[in-house]
């Protein structure tokens, strides 16, 4: 198994509050790593460390290293890093433009101008995001007219359009109904073959359904990481068991 991202002794603070403590973690290529844990356990902070989104916060500081394909992410050009490690947020954020333009926006920013090539990217991205069949006849319509679930898959397609290697999902289904949730989950599972996926979710059942492995975070520490099966059938740590059985606290 190839390690896609290696985290070595990561420590993070917001002002004087330490939110991630001595974290060592490997993310394997073509896996879906689910990250679960209660509020304030450091899940989203960790996710945002992986493409350096926390750097935008002036109160944030960190120590330790994150290696992508063996290379420290701090040495990678920020624009390149965020192209290689894409992110899908909890709230689907469609740009106020057509479906087609939403998908091509990132590609154009990366210098692709050829219309045929752009159209190819649109179709390929929408197919991978399991949205093509639903929108192929109305690509010129405003993206904001799509349902919440469709907009979330549009955001996935937009992320895919710039050809990332890793995709970070931060609570991607928190506002979606069960049918839309199932479609996004199926999309994630299908994407696993070509991408490495990290999923932060408060829905532990969702983590169980889609993840290859699951990491349980608690108060900024990694308590346990194992296969989804072992975490949900026989977790090693009592704290993990208490959390996933709803006894926590």
């Amino acid at each position: 198994m190839v390690v896609k991202i290696q985290v070595n002794n990561l420590n993070c603070w917001f002002k004087n509050t330490q939110v991630i403590k001595s974290l060592f973690l490997s993310i394997l290529e073509h896996e879906i790593l689910g990250i679960i844990g209660p509020a304030n356990s450091g899940k989203t902070t960790f996710l945002r460390c992986l493409n350096r989104l926390n750097d935008l916060n002036p109160h944030f500081k960190s120590k330790g290293e994150i290696l992508k394909d063996g290379r420290n992410i701090n040495t990678i050009k920020l624009e390149t890093l965020r192209q290689e490690i894409g992110m899908v947020f909890a709230m689907p954020i469609s740009l106020p433009m057509s479906i087609y333009d939403n998908i091509t926006y990132g590609a154009k920013q990366h210098g692709i101008k050829n219309k045929k090539e752009l159209s190819g990217i649109v179709e390929e991205s929408l197919v991978k995001a399991s949205l093509w069949d639903e929108v192929k006849g109305r690509l010129d319509q405003p993206a904001l007219q799509l349902s919440g679930g469709q907009q979330q898959r549009l955001c996935i397609a937009r992320t895919l359009a710039v050809q990332p290697e890793v995709i970070l999902f931060d609570e991607p289904c928190s506002g979606l109904d069960p049918i839309s949730t199932a479609k996004v989950e199926e999309t994630m599972i299908n994407l696993k073959d070509k991408y490495t996926i990290v999923l932060v979710t408060n829905n532990v059942k969702q983590a169980a359904r889609v993840s290859s492995r699951i990491a349980f975070f608690l108060m900024g520490e990694l308590v346990e990481i194992d296969t989804a099966n072992d975490i949900f059938v026989k977790p090693s740590d009592r704290r993990t068991e208490d959390y996933i059985t709803g006894r926590f606290g």
Binding site: V204, K205, A208, F232, V233, K234, P235, T240, E241, I244, T245, G246, R247
Partner: protein, 220 residues
């Protein structure tokens, strides 16, 4: 705050234990009915079997509902799946008790005292296995469950001794073949009950530790 789900699990445990107590009584009364040639005891066993069959279905329905509605994980999931398997083993034990009383009440009287003593002893061992496996289930006691697995060897060895005594008996008096066959079947059913108690103990160990020791996958 005690969650409703935990109340449901507690109730499920009580139902399994209550069913186990009835099955224990069935085994005891089945052997007593043979030894004492008591038709009343035999009828009591048959009456209990209906109760056990009904309870088996109720417990299965409860478990399926808990899995569907609560989507349990970890220790809760292991507890519910173990309860379903234990439920099935208990029902089979009840069937074995009925198999025992299906055989001639007169068989014992015609056979040597040594065989009767062995059957009585085997029955005591088997009842001990059943009782301890259920106690291990209720008290989450791994050591007690392991002890049941060891008792199974004693039961198997008693069955071999009974078979040997029966063979010797037939050699001396071929007219006892029919009665002997009855006793072979009775001891075979007792041994099967012991096997079910072993299954329960293995399920209890899985429920507590998450380790599958069936088919000698792990050394005890």
């Amino acid at each position: 705050m005690i969650r409703h789900f935990e109340e449901d699990l507690k109730h499920l445990k009580e139902r399994v234990l209550s069913m186990g107590n009835v099955v224990e009584s069935m085994i005891d009364k089945a052997i007593q009915s043979i030894i004492k040639e008591d038709i009343e005891l035999k009828n009591q066993v048959l009456k209990w079997e209906e109760e056990v069959n009904k309870t088996q279905i109720e417990i299965d329905e409860t478990c399926i509902a808990l899995i569907a509605l609560q989507q349990p994980a970890a220790v809760d999931l292991r507890f519910i799946t173990s309860a379903m398997k234990i439920n099935s083993d208990l029902e089979r034990m009840g069937d074995q008790a009925v198999n025992i009383i299906d055989h001639s009440l007169k068989s014992i009287r015609c056979m040597p005292q040594a065989i009767i003593d062995y059957i009585t002893k085997m029955s005591e061992f088997v009842q001990k296995m059943v009782s301890r496996s259920l106690e291990a289930f209720v008290t989450y006691n791994v050591e007690m469950a392991k002890g049941v697995l060891l008792l199974d060897d004693d039961v198997d060895s008693l069955k071999e001794q009974i078979f040997h005594e029966i063979q010797e008996c037939i050699k001396g008096d071929t007219e006892k073949i029919n009665h002997s066959l009855d006793l072979v079947i009775i001891s075979r059913n007792l041994e099967r009950i012991g096997d079910h108690a072993t299954n329960i103990s293995e399920d209890v160990i899985y429920m507590i530790l998450g380790k599958d020791i069936r088919h000698h996958q792990q050394i005890i």
